[in-house]
């Protein structure tokens, strides 16, 4: 596993406009600079946000990688949920899924509680 390498690539990409330009124009060359497994390389290239999450990429890196690919917020969250269904639990890193009711249901509940106060 080379989660470190996957995250390092995303880290450089997120913070450095020149790497972003290169990633646009010569993606294969940029990917080749990191020691990636075939699964990781494909997940980055696609990009497969769900699989990257399951591989253990930190959301603070992944969120911006998704934004770079113009993936809208709601879709970003959905990609991760689909990733968990397709590929199983997060394999590495700090995450364990905790089963959340979702923003809309949570919001409605908080609003009800506020109104009761």
């Amino acid at each position: 596993m080379s989660l470190y390498q996957v995250q390092k690539l995303i880290y450089q990409l997120n913070r450095d406009p020149r790497t972003q330009q290169r990633y646009e124009s010569e993606r294969a060359a940029v990917l080749a600079e990191y020691e990636l497994t075939e699964e990781e390389r494909a997940a980055l290239e696609t990009p497969d946000i769900g699989l990257l999450y399951v591989l253990g990429v930190n959301g603070q890196l992944l969120m911006h990688f998704a934004a770079l690919h113009k993936i809208e917020w709601t879709d970003y969250l959905e990609h991760m949920r689909v990733g968990l269904k397709t590929h199983g639990a997060v394999r590495e890193g700090v995450y364990a899924s905790t089963g959340y009711e979702g923003v809309d249901a949570h919001d409605a509940r908080l609003k009800q509680e506020r109104e009761k106060r």
Binding site: V94, G99, G102
Partner: protein, 274 residues
Amino acid sequence: MPLVYCGACSHAPGITARAERADTQTRQALHKALYKMGDDIRATRPDALVVVAAEHFANFFMNNMPAFAIGMADSYEGPIEDEAFLRIKRTTVPGDKALSKKLIEGVMQTVDVAYAEEWKFDHGIAVPLHFLTPGYDLPIIPANINCQGPPLTPLKRAWAFGEALRAAADALPQRIALVATGGISHWPATPDSGKINEKWDREFLARWAANDRDALLSYTDADIYREGGQGGFEIRTFIAAAAAARGAKGTIEFCEPVPIFAVSCTIARMGIAA
């Protein structure tokens, strides 16, 4: 001279990135409270604002992760985030290299802090500044505690960092303000984004407002992860601010859970004990 301002606020990217998706009344109240915090800071006539942040891999990565860092430059760029995503225009924010250097020298007397002559702001600093100093006219000194890449900075060291910042600021002739930024419970940028443990947040803030050192430092990272998610590790910034207040009590000026912003949006101010 003694620190002139000490406070804490949220920095969640959703506050700007997904602004319109929150309840209008709540959003307006949050904005009002943030702008008031900016006014309160300016009223203390600071020469510089130290922002104690929990940055998210904008500058520091697992190849060389400092437990603590302070910026030492005359300007900083940010935010690194996609402008269309964060909805904050990329800009240059003024710093004060000479003042940073003096502050760092002071902090180094008790805490081994890394210094950085380059520092790109991410939402952790850019979102607060967007409201607190929208004109980007106050020199900023960024400081960071590793809340992201385990092994994380221990809570008691975050406290020591706050004490060190306070002692260093007090020894300077300049007027220094300090704002800590972070979330309490949150599961940012994960499928659980939007989950908030409001009860845990309010309990933490009660300990913070009471400036109860022992209670603040009694959390383990396992407790924090279970109750507050990986975002909860950012309580380290709040803890540093409490230490900088040197025992004074705090006031929670605003605290409202906003799931679409992924945190209990919080604005709080500490008194400053001599």
